[in-house]
């Protein structure tokens, strides 16, 4: 979680200094979800992200160097600079793809589940509260339940779709209610409690792996920063943000872990400083990396045999 937090704080700085361009969404405040879900998955499993997926990928094993280089559009980036923040892909870690299309990866996850269910794989996919408005989400609930697919649908409910609070984009009380008509087991949990996320995810993974079909996990969380880097945030008050700051998943977990002595103070410090080091290294790597060759802009459109 520290790695994700420090990484994204660095991303914001680099956006401000224009070392990073593009439309960048950070998930600061939502690290508990990314971390809990990633911990529940095995090497054989697959994951799909959203437009806000740096954390999903880092938690899933992505090398921060390759990610930072990608965000900067360098040739050493995960996607050779072609993807950028919203379209990262890390196949060695089975992080299939992020997407700039809200709700766009849910159906992809179903397809991957069909392809890989016989190998015992589970597929997790993220989507937001806003994405619950998209028709495709509902089409996928139907198909996932009809075909009993080993899919974990993780809703990061941060209470907003861009600048619109949930109460203004739906009358539905809980996103997890959508599971009911389909008989899809659905839980609501505190997404800022990484252990709660992990527990719920473990249950869902178990169910999926045993052939019992999909699970919907609604993680209540909050993004402590703007919708995108540069968002003036006129749509919410400082009070609300500071209340959620108290529930910062990293703060909550650190306090819990050190107070209960699961993790010693020194170890925690070491975790933090190694995360900081990794982010520094990633930044260095990004800076030292070459730009892609502009004349190769039309590479990778078709496969090598075409």
């Amino acid at each position: 979680m520290y790695l994700i937090r420090y990484f994204e704080e660095r991303v914001i700085e680099l956006c401000h200094t224009k070392e990073l361009e593009g439309l960048v969404h950070v998930g600061i405040g939502q690290e508990g979800v990314a971390t809990g879900i990633a911990l529940s998955l095995k090497d054989c499993d697959y994951l799909y992200g959203t437009h806000r997926s740096h954390g999903h990928f880092l938690a899933g094993g992505t090398d921060p160097k390759l990610l930072m280089a990608e965000l900067a559009g360098k040739d050493t980036g995960l996607c050779r600079g072609r993807g950028g923040s919203m379209h990262i892909v890390d196949i060695p870690n089975r992080l299939m793809t992020a997407t700039g299309i809200v709700g766009g990866t849910i159906s992809l996850a179903l397809g991957t589940a069909i392809a890989k269910r016989d190998e015992g794989a589970v597929v997790a996919v993220y989507f937001g509260d806003g994405a619950s408005n998209t028709g495709s989400f509902h089409e996928c609930l139907n198909m996932a339940s009809l075909w009993k697919l080993p899919v974990i649908m993780v809703c990061e409910n941060n209470g907003y779709a861009e600048f619109t609070p949930m109460s203004a984009h739906t009358v539905v009380e809980n996103i997890s209610d959508h599971g009911k008509p389909y008989g899809i087991p659905a839980t609501i949990i505190n997404g800022n409690d990484v252990l709660a996320v992990l527990n719920a995810a473990n249950d869902a993974v178990k169910r999926a792996r045993e052939g019992d079909g999909p699970t919907l996990i609604e993680c209540l969380t909050y993004r402590l920063r703007g919708h995108y880097v540069g968002d003036p945030e006129g749509y919410r008050g400082a009070q609300e943000v500071s209340e959620w700051r108290e529930k910062d998943p990293i703060r909550v977990f650190s306090k819990f872990a050190t107070s209960k002595k699961f993790i010693r103070e020194e170890v925690m410090l070491e975790i933090r400083s190694s995360a900081q080091r990794a982010v520094d290294e990633a930044t260095e790597f990004m800076r030292a990396s070459p730009w892609p060759d502009g004349t190769r802009v039309a590479d990778f459109v078709y496969g090598p045999s075409s």
Binding site: G77, H87, M96, S107, L108, G111, M143, L146
Partner: protein, 324 residues
């Protein structure tokens, strides 16, 4: 009529062959397990099981996504879109994911899938069950677009499409399914090469899909008038085999393009633009285009007949082109 020579027979042979040849091949779509409304996939489920022949709910956007997700994970899915008109519901997944994932991932992902699409005007089915929208897809880098006008090409090109590592749209004109081939054709190995279906030296006629047959009809009439048309069936629209077209023009100096789609913004526009660029000095007359008028497809049989380009219209355009 020998059943084996119908367009649909070619498709069925291709599907069956690829299903047998590669266990990763699968098909999904509305009612495909019962054969679909035209019977193209008839019998597949009995032979290869529900795991590989999947009926889906009416959810075009998401079943396109499902196919992409399966392809991304190494399967070779074929998705059937019952009418091209409904492909409008799946454009997001097709354009934003299927076409772009290889690129956006810097080559990490391949999306080896075939999008089978039934299309075309025939029988008075009206504006929402008759369109020809292929030109949209020419404009989308990452996609390939195949068509066929006969059972030989339907078979060999469908097999090639399934084996391709990129998303291939395969357009099937409803008016062709149950028609018999009226020519003995050789098999062309390369699916992306055009086919010269008739030799001629007076003008070049470029077409594809069902209109190839209308062109052949017109050519028979033209021959009686002493005009010999060379007819090229494009087969692949993306990529386009310009070489074959230009070579023919260097012999005929005159060219027309015929398609069923609305003329404005159609495939003929791109071909005409390329021809006038590549063969500027060889052309004795402007590139002529024949296509549907600028209107939706009407339901009334009389209006539909007036709407679909036919051999009379082609004849007239050919005569005026040669007279130019």
């Amino acid at each position: 009529m020998k059943d084996g020579q119908r367009f649909i027979d070619g498709l069925q042979r291709a599907l069956r062959a690829e299903f047998e040849h590669d266990p990763l091949v699968m098909i999904l779509g509305e009612d495909v397990a019962v054969g679909g409304p035209f019977g193209v996939t008839s019998g597949l489920v009995d032979e290869f099981g529900e795991g590989r022949v999947m009926n889906t709910p009416i959810s075009e956007e998401s079943i396109m996504g499902v196919a992409i997700g399966a392809a991304a994970a190494g399967r070779r899915p074929i998705i059937e879109i019952m009418f091209i008109d409904f492909l409008t519901l799946a454009m997001n997944q097709l354009v934003n994911h299927a076409a772009k994932l290889r690129y956006m991932s810097g080559g990490q992902l391949s999306i080896p899938m075939v999008i089978r699409v039934q299309q075309g005007a025939e029988g008075g089915w009206g504006s929402q069950h008759s369109q020809s929208l292929e030109s949209w897809f020419l404009h989308v880098p990452g996609l390939k677009v195949y068509t066929a006008s006969n059972s030989i090409d339907a078979e060999s090109m469908m097999r090639a499409a399934i084996q391709d590592d990129d998303p291939v749209m395969f357009l099937e004109h409803r008016g062709l399914y149950f028609s018999n081939d009226n020519l003995i054709l050789n098999k062309i190995e390369d699916p992306e090469k055009a086919r010269i279906v008739r030799d001629g030296c007076d003008l070049t006629v470029v077409s594809y899909s069902r209109m190839t047959r209308e062109c052949l009809n017109a050519a028979a009439q033209l021959a009686e008038e002493g005009i010999e048309a060379e007819i090229i069936d494009l087969r692949s629209l993306q990529p386009l085999d310009l070489d074959t077209i230009i070579e023919s023009i260097k012999k005929t100096f005159r060219v027309m393009i015929v398609h069923e789609a609305v003329m404005v913004g159609g495939v003929g526009a791109e071909i005409a633009a390329q021809i006038q660029n590549l063969a500027f000095d060889w052309l004795d007359a402007p590139v002529t285009r024949v296509g549907a008028p600028f209107a939706p497809v009407p339901a009334s049989p009389i209006l539909e007949k007036a709407y679909i380009p036919n051999s009379a219209l082609i004849l007239e355009a050919a005569r005026s082109l040669v007279g130019d």
